[in-house]
Symmetry: C2
């Protein structure tokens, strides 16, 4: 195995500057249509999905990372060895991993419209990432991000979503587009109010449906409320005010999965 032996050691390098700007600036991500994926597991997900790669940085690869680098060599993906200092400068995490890749935004298109997740003003990147991870596990047809939701290529979202970006379409849309996309669907809003709302497990999720999950800080928007034909709630015997937004969304999505699998 022959790798390029010229290790990249300068943080003034153009690729390093690009990565740092992609990590910190939404504007750069949107202008370039590119984002950064950190860590062996996420890079593996991207590779398995068949996503194109711009290039990969590696530093002290362990066995698993090396196996991925070997696969990349066969696909002629540019692999650049970097010093620990360069990897640290590029990483969004405190403890950099052996692999980091720059990729174009995945362009997955929904091929059905039977279960949609709509994230409405979810501002916490960890919450959005966790919800996208669940949505991928539940195989929703699309995760739609409504206005006021954190951008999906934010490094913290990417990290906590565990590869969801390569498994399901994630679409950032305006409300008029969301209204068009949800025509003919039963649209439900997850609410903490129980009055006038249906129990989440008494809804028929085997019909084409969309579920709107509001953020914890501000709750769902007026547009989200207007779009929904009804609200659903999760009964909480403990009398708590609410669940974590990602948890509430996950409980509802997996009730939908339970019904779909029990058909």
């Amino acid at each position: 195995m022959l790798y390029n032996r010229r290790m990249l050691t300068s943080t003034a390098n153009e690729r390093v500057k690009l990565i740092r700007s992609l990590q910190s600036q939404r504007k750069t991500r949107e202008k370039e249509g590119r984002f950064v994926v950190e860590g062996t597991r996420l890079v593996e997900e991207a590779l398995l999905s068949g996503s194109p790669f711009d290039f990969v940085f590696y530093c002290n690869p362990d066995h698993r990372a090396q196996a991925l680098l070997d696969k990349m060599e066969k696909q002629s993906i540019a692999r650049i060895e970097v010093s620990p200092q360069v990897m640290q400068a590029c990483a969004d995490t405190e403890h950099p991993q052996p692999l980091l890749a720059v990729l174009p935004f995945p362009a997955l298109t929904p091929n059905a419209n039977s279960l949609l997740l709509i994230c409405d003003r979810i501002t916490d990147p960890g919450n959005l990432g966790t919800l996208l991870r669940t949505a991928a596990a539940a195989r929703v047809d699309s995760a739609i991000l409504a206005p006021g939701t954190v951008e999906p290529f934010n490094p913290k979202v990417v990290r906590s979503s565990m590869g969801a970006h390569f498994r399901i379409p994630i679409e950032t849309l305006e409300w008029n587009e969301i209204r068009m996309r949800t025509q003919g669907l039963n649209v439900w809003l997850a609410d903490t109010e129980t009055q006038g709302a249906a129990r989440y497990d008494e809804v028929n999720w085997t019909r084409p449906s969309a579920i709107i999950i509001g953020g914890e800080a501000e709750g769902p928007s007026d547009e989200g409320r207007a779009l929904a034909e009804g609200a659903v709630f999760i009964p909480m015997p403990g009398g708590s005010e609410s669940l974590n937004a990602a948890v509430a969304g996950s409980v509802i999505l997996f009730e939908a999965v339970r019904q779909l699998l029990s058909q």
Copy 2:
């Protein structure tokens, strides 16, 4: 309303030193049997629960915080006004809130044994806190923390648990104690392996049960596996490797709630 007008401005004050040590040192928390609660919402939960208070720091209270301070005055709880600099020095969060309290560890005792959550090597404070928040909403009889799980009075756990500490017993136990506590219960282990495991929704959760949730980094321990009489899995149509540990635990706990409420 008369408050003590001598605002605390020195970070060398003994109470400030105590708070900073309680925030950063598990050893101090255990020696003192005390912990710190930050923010209006958590302080409100503590007050509603009837928990005793050592003292409260306040700084620029808004309307809601002031209402709580008035309630505390009636209960003769020590309230000390502090400067923004002191509040910042005491806070574990970047944006300090108007209230911060020091309290003894809550001493709730389980009054039934029909649904237990066992956290096994959950090392991420945010995950543990989110799971405890769900456990409180689901009204488990007790949340048991097995060896290798993050300590429940860690500031990040307290913050993400949203008052669970005041609603349900949280017990840190050794495995031999956990074995005794779970005698007569159906003990299930949440697993990502589907072979030999039952679907989580095909288990009868209306019988007295315990569910073991392993951490994401290392999974459940050998002791946890040995204690469980069987494993349950969550079917994932998306073919993902796993869910976030707090999400997996929440989906299973709310399936138990769904069955219990449908009886």
